[in-house]
């Protein structure tokens, strides 16, 4: 029973960081294990934001050797960046094990991302012109404070509060998932996918990598594969309802779009609010009310419903 939430402002920016935090905090009871955000700032063409983690939160309890291990892994990331000719414009520590890079790079970011992840224990959480993906153990307020999300301005975002059922409580199994190695695509999901292994093997044969055993990662890879092959987001979401089995509701965000898809059983909830300049959605109405306390009209999408909104 995870909680998902998303919002998109049409044609304007807003304080998406604090809005998403309010929504996800209201969904804490649906999943207290971990919280994640994929928020989209104003895109800066040419510059890439890369969010990377070099250890799991649990690893930090290992004692004095950790500091050296972290330093080695960060040095390995820096070496690969230099090798690919990426210029590091900014490098910030969000936590001891999570970093935010601003890069200027005009080569193949996908090849660079694959090279970076060859380093032991290193996982790129996100890369893109606008996307910043943040996920860690704890509730929304804990994660937002640790990663300084209160001041984040952007156009749209999706988020997730996780109750671990199918895989471990750790950062690599937390949502959202970045659609590696495709820039600016992220996914959050509430549900269970029953043909996970079959579809995962199919995707692996097509050359995609999986970092976790979490079924939600499959959706990110599935959508990314379609987008890379010229399929529109809406068509990909529609196709997924036929090809992916199970009960699910999931949200996908790209640089300037936000989409939702609901399975054929409509077994996982989503409440939608639409106005001319803001669309907000969440597993429960209480999350939408956290940012819109006034009386508003909301509704539940039906089975097999797919919607896509433009920022």
């Amino acid at each position: 029973m995870c909680g998902i939430a998303g919002l998109i402002h049409k044609g304007r920016s807003s304080n998406v960081g604090s809005e998403m935090t309010a929504m996800l905090q209201a969904l804490k009871h649906r999943g207290p294990d971990s919280t994640g955000y994929a928020v989209y700032g104003v895109p800066s063409e040419g510059d890439y934001v890369m969010r990377v983690k070099v250890a799991e939160a649990d690893d930090m309890a290992r004692g004095s050797k950790v500091a050296g291990m972290l330093a080695d892994r960060i040095a390995a990331v820096d070496a690969v960046l230099a090798e690919h000719g990426a210029k590091v414009k900014a490098k910030e520590h969000a936590t001891d094990y999570a970093l935010r890079y601003v890069l200027s790079h005009d080569g193949d970011t996908g090849a660079m991302a694959e090279h970076i992840e060859e380093a032991d224990g290193v996982e790129i959480l996100s890369m893109g012109n606008g996307l910043e993906l943040i996920k860690d153990l704890g509730d929304a307020s804990v994660v937002a404070e640790a990663y300084g999300l209160a001041d984040f301005t952007g156009t749209h975002g999706i988020g997730h509060t996780r109750m671990a059922t199918e895989s471990d409580v750790d950062i690599k199994s937390a949502h959202p998932y970045w659609a590696f190695p495709y820039n600016d695509v992220s996914v959050v999901h509430n549900g269970q996918i029953t043909n996970y292994w079959i579809t995962r093997r199919e995707m692996e044969r097509k050359g995609h990598r999986f970092m976790s055993n979490c079924d939600s990662e499959l959706l990110a890879v599935y959508v990314a594969h379609d987008l890379a092959n010229g399929v529109s987001l809406e068509d990909s979401l529609r196709k997924s309802i036929d090809e992916i089995d199970g009960v699910f509701t999931y949200l996908v965000a790209t640089k300037d779009q936000l989409g939702m898809a609901k399975d054929t059983m409509a077994a996982k909830p989503l409440v939608l609010y639409e106005s001319d300049d803001l669309i907000a959605m969440a597993s429960e109405e209480v999350a939408i009310r956290a940012i819109l306390p006034q009386e508003i009209d909301t509704y539940d999408p039906y089975d097999e419903e797919v919607r896509v909104w433009q920022a």
């Binding site: 054929t264 059983m265 409509a266 909830p269 409440v271 429960e284 109405e285 209480v286 999350a287 939408i288 009310r289 306390p293 009386e295 508003i296 009209d297 909301t298 509704y299 539940d300 039906y302 089975d303």
Partner: protein, 289 residues
Amino acid sequence: MAGVSDAELQGMTQEERAAALGMMTEQLTGKSMYIEFDPEATERFAYPWAPDVDFNKRAEIDAAEMSTKEVNARIRELMREGYGTVVLHNPRGKHSLAVGILNRLNLIIEGSIGYFGVGLIDGPNVRINGRVGWSCAENMMAGTVVIQKNAGSTFGAAIRGGDLVCRGSVGSRTGIDMKGGTIIVGGDTGALSGFMMQRGRMVVCGNAGKNLGDSMYDGTIFIGGEIASLGVDAVTADLTDLDKKWLTRKLTQYELMPEKGVDHFTKVVAGKQLWNYDNLEPNEKKLIL
């Protein structure tokens, strides 16, 4: 309130207690079945322990800064003080509001509520000037609930009695496992509505999603619009004059009467090919099917 005290109830056997509370049972083919009323018994409108309330005494609650538990406790406290009309402001999508009210009460909710709202109620008249989340009025036993906007999935799951009305559209699995009462929807309903329905009536003025009435045992569904598909063992039946009169009365009462009347409604009932209650031997079963 006709007087059976708690102390008296505690001293009774299970059977005596059931009779004292107006719940009569009779033996039918080896199973204990609930019968609707006993002509000898005096009619009972409330539980013995339910406080007397005056509908003209009105109280207001602002739920903005209250937890669900506090709101529900406050409603009970007001009923004990004799308030018969309670207005709840700023519910803001909270879950499980106004559950388990076993008494007469006029409850007006000014705003939208979350999951499991007004569940397990027996008697109150509830008006919700907003939207409701999943499983609204689950297991409702008596009373009326009228919702002005849309409702989520499993609307009126397992209701046993009373009238549950949504003026907007509702989600999937509406009236799943319903065992009595009436569900009325002004708009559309989603997939698997009336799934495993056992008794009662469901009226949907708009369209119905796929697998309508799947595996229903009994009961009746009336659909005013299109039906995406019928579920296993659900079949259409002819609308009788009695059905039309009943539909006209109920829809007029809740101001949901379509302009073109009720003649266009499709009636859906159980085909009863899946019934397997009696543990008959295969040969005997063939005779029936």
